[in-house]
């Protein structure tokens, strides 16, 4: 079991400074969390442009509600909850089917891809992100919250409102689907990728 993410001293300092109206502190906070938050937003929305817009809205909500943040809570968990909720609202508003059916993924031709002998870091990233794009949003989101943000199951529960059992089941399925999709995308050469 992972440990609950505690606030780093710098997070609390930044929050205090933002409350005093320091916009440079807010800028630093955005710089610190924007990429991880963007990855979460893409997990839900599957569209980078839409995810970036939603993330801007989420950071504006953070700024407007910074006085509501309780210092005994984890700032990262609070932020990720705002990001996920904002993205879910955008998704609901757009009412799109934002992820491909897994059965469609199974038909992806992998001939061109399997000819690659070695994978560069960039290619590796590309395959992982393509895989995440094809996965169900909730599975991609949970995998990123767990492995990228390193949140504990109870923190993930706070961010997503899923039950702990559901989170564990979806993480298990998500991992399985991720390997399966990676294998497909790489033409059964997943071992070369890792």
């Amino acid at each position: 079991m992972k440990k609950t993410n505690k606030n780093s001293q710098s997070d609390l300092e930044l929050v205090k400074q933002i409350r005093e109206g320091d916009m440079l502190a807010f800028r630093n906070l955005v710089e610190k969390y924007k990429d991880v938050s963007f990855s979460l937003a893409c997990s839900v929305l599957k569209d980078e442009e839409e995810a970036e817009d939603a993330l801007q809205d989420a950071f504006m909500k953070v700024l407007n509600n910074i006085n509501k943040f309780r210092f005994d809570a984890s700032f990262a968990t609070w932020l990720y909850r705002i990001v996920v909720n904002t993205c879910l609202k955008v998704k609901e508003k757009n009412k799109k089917h934002l992820y491909d059916d897994l059965s469609e993924v199974l038909n992806i031709p992998s001939d061109d891809i399997s000819s690659l002998d070695k994978y560069s870091e960039k290619e590796r990233s590309g395959y992982i992100n393509a895989t995440f794009k094809l996965m169900k949003p909730e599975e991609a989101l949970l995998l990123r919250l767990y492995y990228l943000c390193e949140l504990s199951i109870s923190d993930i529960k706070e961010v997503t409102d899923f039950t702990e059992t559901n989170i564990k089941v979806m993480l298990y399925r998500g991992r399985k689907n991720m390997y399966h999709l990676l294998n497909k995308l790489t033409g059964n050469e997943i071992n070369d990728l890792i």
Binding site: K34, V36, F38, Q56, I128, N129, R144, I190
Partner: protein
């Protein structure tokens, strides 16, 4: 693939926002602030005007 390898792969594949993300966000916030200020001034102006009109009527 083990758990630590999964973590490594996912962490190395973090997505990046566009280069202008922070700049655009800060500009958006600045614009909102200016709009709020302008609205506030307009309300004060309107209230003052109503007050003066009421007084002159009386």
């Amino acid at each position: 693939m083990n758990d630590s390898k999964t973590k490594e792969l996912i962490q190395k594949s973090v997505l990046r926002t566009s280069d202008t993300f922070t700049k655009e966000l800060m500009e958006r916030i600045e614009l909102k602030k200016r709009q709020a200020k302008a609205l506030h001034s307009a309300i004060i102006r309107e209230c003052t005007l109503n007050c003066v009109t009421d007084k002159s009527r009386n």
